[in-house]
């Protein structure tokens, strides 16, 4: 008499497909995550309980620390357009290659005269150079920071038809008069609204 045998099923599932999907997602997230560029100026931002996140386009970031100011405007197209305008303003010719390279440089604090040489350096030399750099000149006779701001505002308005938001990334220990000096430069250009970058508590 044949006995009816119950087929025992294995409890383990085939993981291959799941593994494929998860690695696909993993690759996607790794590739889309923008690599954070190291900040040349060491700045510890104060903490706050605000919730508003900094937008990732049409902004300029002014880093203030150790009495120096570094400048960065976000977006490759805006960077290049700003460089063109600054070149015209200060009568410095930039080669197409230098333009291309400037598009990927992050925050910088270099006087206009040294800028072409700075762009030609490689990444390592640049980091070294910025360590000892004086930042962007902000004196009333040679106010390059004001000029950078003005030209990048124009570029953003032309390219994106948007208003550029100015953000200040200041070091917590920086004395208030230093910050006030920069804010006064902003206010001279009628930028009365700006944002301070803070980190979460």
């Amino acid at each position: 008499m044949p006995r009816a045998k119950v087929q025992r099923k294995s409890t383990s599932i085939d993981m291959t497909a799941m593994c494929d999907v998860s690695f696909l997602l993993l690759t996607f997230f790794i590739l889309t995550a923008t690599a954070r560029q190291p900040d040349p100026l060491e700045v510890t931002t104060p903490t706050s309980t605000y919730k508003f996140k900094v937008p990732d386009k049409d902004i300029a970031i002014l880093s203030i620390g150790q009495g120096k100011v570094f400048y960065e405007v976000v977006g490759q197209d805006v960077k290049k357009a700003t460089l063109d305008k600054m070149g015209e303003r200060y009568n410095i010719k930039f080669t197409p290659e230098q333009r291309e390279r400037f598009g990927v440089i992050g925050a910088f604090g270099v006087p206009m005269a040294n800028l072409p040489g700075f762009i030609d350096m490689n990444g390592e030399e640049r980091t070294k150079y910025l360590k000892n750099s004086v930042g962007i000149p902000t004196d009333s006779t040679n106010n390059q920071l004001s000029e950078w701001l003005l030209q990048s505002r124009n570029s953003v308005a032309e390219l994106h038809q948007a208003q550029m938001r100015v953000t200040i990334r200041g070091d917590g220990k920086e004395e208030y008069p230093v910050v006030k000096k920069i804010v006064d430069i902003l206010q001279k250009q009628k930028i009365n609204k700006f944002s301070l970058i803070t980190s979460t508590e």
Binding site: K5, Q7, R8, S10, S12, M15, T16, M18, C19, S22, F23, L25, L26, F29, I30, T32, A33, R36, T45, P46, T47, S48, T49, Y50, K51, F52, K53, V54, D56, I64, T167, R169, G170, D171, G172, K173, E174, E175, Y176, P177, V178, V179, K180, V183, D184, Q187, K188, K190, N192, K193, F194, S195, L196, I197, T198, S199, T200
Partner: protein, 177 residues
């Protein structure tokens, strides 16, 4: 968990001895675990690492036409001094001695003043922030944050130009200017 022998019984006919074939399947559970852990990490860090912005509005320096009259009794002036100390007073400068406090106590004072004013007159408290040269950037951010925590809805007036002599004297006396 390893899938080595999945054929349990059923197929044995005539007692023939079969050589067992080792399965080529590898256990992927641990690998999937790891992958999902990494996915979670990347997903969270891409959106969480964004810095936070605090919006600041300052009065126009050249445009003096826009003037807003305030009642002195409804204003609280906070002076930021050095050594992480603040001095605050209600009403007009010079009429009452400023209270010197640290950042730990200022929140309670702001909330108390706000609630007292709300109870007495049902009016919102107006806060004026005056950072002096002794203050540092962190103090400024901290005080703006305290206002946010205290729920001051009216925009604070930030005034770093007109610091009056009576205010300076009081701060000097307390050793925070």
């Amino acid at each position: 968990m390893a899938e080595l022998d999945t054929s349990s019984g059923g197929g044995k006919k005539g007692g023939k001895v079969r050589t067992k074939k080792a399965s080529t399947k590898v256990d992927l559970t641990a690998m999937v675990d790891l992958a999902f852990l990494l996915i979670t990490f990347f997903m969270l860090t891409t959106s969480l690492s964004k810095p936070i912005a605090m919006d600041i509005a300052k009065p126009d320096q050249e445009d003096n036409d826009v003037k807003l009259e305030l009642r002195a009794s409804e204003t609280m002036t906070i002076l930021l001094g050095k050594n992480n100390k603040v001095a605050w007073y209600m009403g007009e400068a010079g009429k009452s001695a400023p209270n010197i406090e640290g950042f730990a106590e200022i929140r309670k004072s702001i909330i108390k003043n706000k609630e007292d004013l709300m109870k007495a007159r049902r009016r919102q408290l107006i806060v004026i922030i005056k950072p002096t040269d002794g203050a540092n950037y962190k103090n400024f951010v901290d005080i703006m944050d305290e206002l946010n925590i205290a729920g001051i809805k009216t925009a604070p007036a930030i005034d770093d130009v007109y610091i009056q002599d009576s205010e300076k004297d009081a701060m000097r006396a307390a050793g925070i200017l």
